[in-house]
Symmetry: C2
Subunit: 364 residues, 2 copies
C-alpha cells in the first residue's frame, strides 16, 4: 500500500521534524526548561496571530477553546450574536445556549459567509449584544468570513468580536490586532501542522474586562487563573507538554518562512487544486471559498461517502466528505499546512480515476 | 550531562516504544483505523479500572476530567461531600464551588487519609449529599485513601462515590466495580506511562441517571454527547490522536504483565525507596502513604526547593518538592509506571550526596 496521504481539513499532515520532537522523552512542566519553550511558543503564536496580547495555552481540542471563549466573555442571560456560516458557527450557538446565553444566530446559506451588512443589521437590532461570535474559515462549508470587515463594524460598538480561527490560522490571512479581533482561538492540528490536543486563546484589552466580570461558571477554562500562572511562566494545570514542544517546531518553520509567504503559498495551492477540479468538470461548492480547503460538488448520482471510502481503500488517501446536510454531496480537499502540491496531485488523480471507475461523468 | 531522570509524580517517564508510537505520522479520527484503536484503548482502560462500564476519553489534562465529573454529577444548589486530603481534594472544592455546588469539605491532616468514620459522620449529617468526591492518591501529600472502605459506606446510601485516580491508576490498587466506585477519572501521564493531554472517565449504572439529570452547564465535558458518538466508535470532538495511540502502547504492556503484578512491583519499589530514605536518616511524611510515591521530610534548616534545584542542576534528576504549606519542607519521590529501581538508586544517591554537600545531617 502507498504511504498514507491526509487531505482532510484537520488533523493535517505533520512535518517529520515536528513528529520527531513529539517522540522525544518527556520533560517536567514545572522546570526552567519547559518555561523556556512555553515563552517561545507563545511568542510564535502571537506572531502568527498578529497580536501584542498574551496567548493562553489549553490542553484541549479546538472545541475546548470555543467553550473557553464563551464562558470567559459571556454571562448567563447575556445576549450574543453568532454569525453561523456552517457547523462550527452552529457549535457556538450550542455552547452559548448550554451556558444560558441568549445566542442570536445570523445564518448564511452554507458555502457563503454572513454578509457584513447582515452583521450591521444584527448589531442595530441587538444593541445589547455583548459579543459577536464568528468563524474565520468553516471547514464544514469550506467558506471564509470577511473578518477584517466584521472587525471594522464591531469596533464601532461596545461589543467584542470573537473569532474561531481553529482551521484557518496559519493558512488564511488574519491579523488579530490590525483587524480589531478581540478574542481569537485556534488549535494545533490544522494550519499549525501538529497533533491535536493543544488549543490557544488570545484576548484584547477591550475584551479582558469581560473575562474578569463574567459570571459563567468555569475553572479549567478560567483565563483569570491562567493569567495568574503566567507570571511564573507556567500553566495552571498539566499542559500537553509533548504537543506544545512539537507544535513549536512547526511554528518555528512558519516564522522562518514568514507568515505572508505561507498565506501566498496557501492561496497558490488553493488555485492549483481548484483548477485541477474544474478541469475534471467538477464545480466548487463555496461562494466564499476559504484558502485552506476546497469543497467540490460530486457528480449527480454519486454518494461522496462511498467515493471517499473507495479512495482511501485503493489509494490510502483521505479526503473528507460533506457534513450534516452536505453528507454524500460534496468532497472537501484541504490544502494547508504540510499538504504539498505532490499530495494534491495524487489526491486529485485518485479522485478523477475513482469517479471514472464509478462510470459517471465528473460534471454536475 | 547525564540522561535526564524524572522522579516527579507526573509526568513520569515514558517507555521508548510508547514514545516511538507518539512520533508516528498522524491518522485521521473519523476512520476505521482510529475506531479500532479507540475500541482497544477503552478495553484496556476498563481492564485497568476493573470495570464493565464504558470509558470516555477526553482531550484534556486530569483537571479537565475532574471538572467533567463535577458538572455531569452535580447541579447548581446540590450538596456534595469532598474528602479533601490534599491539594487535589481542595481542587474538587474549588471546581464544585465555581459551579454553584455546596461543597462540604471533610479535611484530614495532610499526609493522612480522611478516616472512613469521618465519611460516615458526614453522610449522616448531610443525608441530602448527592455525591462524595475523593482522591485515590494525592501526590501533594503522598497519601492514599481507603477507597474500598469509602465504597462500602457510600454504597449503602443514595449518594455516589467519585474517585480522582489521576495519579494512582496503574500503580495503586483500585477495582472500580468491586469497590463500588461510581465515577472514576484518570489521566495518561502518571501510572499509565504516556504524555499528558488525555484523560478518562467512567460512570457506574448508579451514577448515570445523574449525568442525564444534571443541570450544570456543559458542552465539551457533556458525557451525554460522548455517549451518543460512542455508538459510531468516535469522540464528539477531535481527540488527542497521537496521545491516544501512544498511551495505548503503554496500556498494552500493563495488560500483558497483568495489573496485579504491576501493583506488586509498585509496592516493592515503594518499600525499596523508603528503606533507602530511612537508612539515610530521613523520615516519611505521610501517615497513610501511597504506593506510587513517597514524601520525605528534609532535615531541619534545609530548603527542599533549593535541594531539588541543586539535584537537577548537578545530576539532571527531577525530584518534586512540597506544595503549598509543605513548600520547602519535603521532597517527593515517585516510584510508579516506568520509573525503575535503577532510577531510584540514582535519585536517592543524588539526594544523599547533595544533603551531605549542604553539610546537614539527614535526620530531622
Amino acid at each position: 500500500m502507498d504511504k498514507q496521504i491526509l487531505l482532510t481539513p484537520g488533523p493535517t499532515p505533520i512535518p517529520p521534524e515536528t513528529l520527531a520532537e513529539e517522540g522525544l522523552p518527556i520533560i517536567h512542566h514545572r522546570t526552567r526548561e519547559f518555561s523556556k519553550i512555553f515563552d517561545e511558543i507563545r511568542e510564535n503564536v502571537k506572531y502568527i496571530l498578529g497580536t501584542q496580547r498574551e496567548v493562553y495555552l489549553l490542553a484541549s481540542s479546538g472545541t475546548g477553546a470555543m467553550e473557553c471563549a464563551c464562558v470567559n466573555i459571556c454571562s448567563p442571560g447575556d445576549k450574543a450574536i453568532v454569525l453561523a456560516a456552517g457547523a462550527f458557527g452552529e457549535r457556538f450557538v450550542k455552547i452559548l445556549t448550554a451556558y444560558g446565553v441568549n445566542a442570536v444566530a445570523v445564518r448564511s446559506e452554507w458555502g457563503s459567509a454572513v454578509a457584513p451588512s447582515e452583521l450591521e443589521k444584527a448589531l442595530k437590532e441587538n444593541p445589547d449584544a455583548k459579543a459577536v461570535f464568528s468563524t474565520h474559515t468553516d471547514t464544514s462549508t469550506t467558506m471564509a468570513s470577511p473578518i477584517q470587515k466584521y472587525g471594522e463594524i464591531v469596533a464601532k460598538t461596545n461589543a467584542v468580536l470573537v473569532v474561531d480561527a481553529i482551521s484557518g490560522l496559519g493558512g488564511q490571512e488574519l491579523y488579530m490586532d490590525k483587524w480589531n479581533c478581540d478574542v481569537v482561538i485556534s488549535a494545533s492540528q490544522k494550519g499549525l501542522m501538529a497533533a491535536p490536543g493543544l488549543a490557544f486563546i488570545s484576548v484584547s484589552a477591550k475584551a479582558w474586562p469581560l473575562v474578569q466580570a463574567s459570571k459563567s461558571p468555569r475553572f479549567y477554562w478560567d483565563l483569570r487563573i491562567a493569567e495568574k500562572f503566567m507570571e511564573s511562566g507556567q500553566t495552571p494545570f498539566t499542559p500537553a507538554i509533548s504537543i506544545i514542544r512539537s507544535t513549536n517546531v512547526s511554528l518555528r518553520s512558519i516564522r522562518k518562512k514568514g507568515i505572508e509567504k505561507v498565506y501566498e503559498e496557501t492561496r497558490e495551492l488553493a488555485k492549483y487544486t481548484r483548477d485541477l477540479g474544474l478541469k475534471m468538470g467538477m464545480k466548487m461548492f463555496a461562494k466564499d471559498p476559504a484558502d485552506v480547503l476546497t469543497g467540490f460538488w460530486v457528480p449527480e448520482g454519486v454518494d461522496s461517502e462511498k467515493l471517499i471510502e473507495k479512495i482511501v481503500d485503493k489509494y490510502n488517501i483521505s479526503i473528507a466528505g460533506g457534513q450534516e446536510k452536505l453528507k454524500g454531496k460534496i468532497v472537501r480537499v484541504a490544502h494547508m499546512g504540510y499538504i504539498l502540491k505532490s499530495d494534491i496531485d495524487k489526491g486529485m488523480k485518485a479522485l478523477a480515476e475513482t469517479l471514472n471507475e464509478m462510470k459517471v461523468p465528473a460534471g454536475r
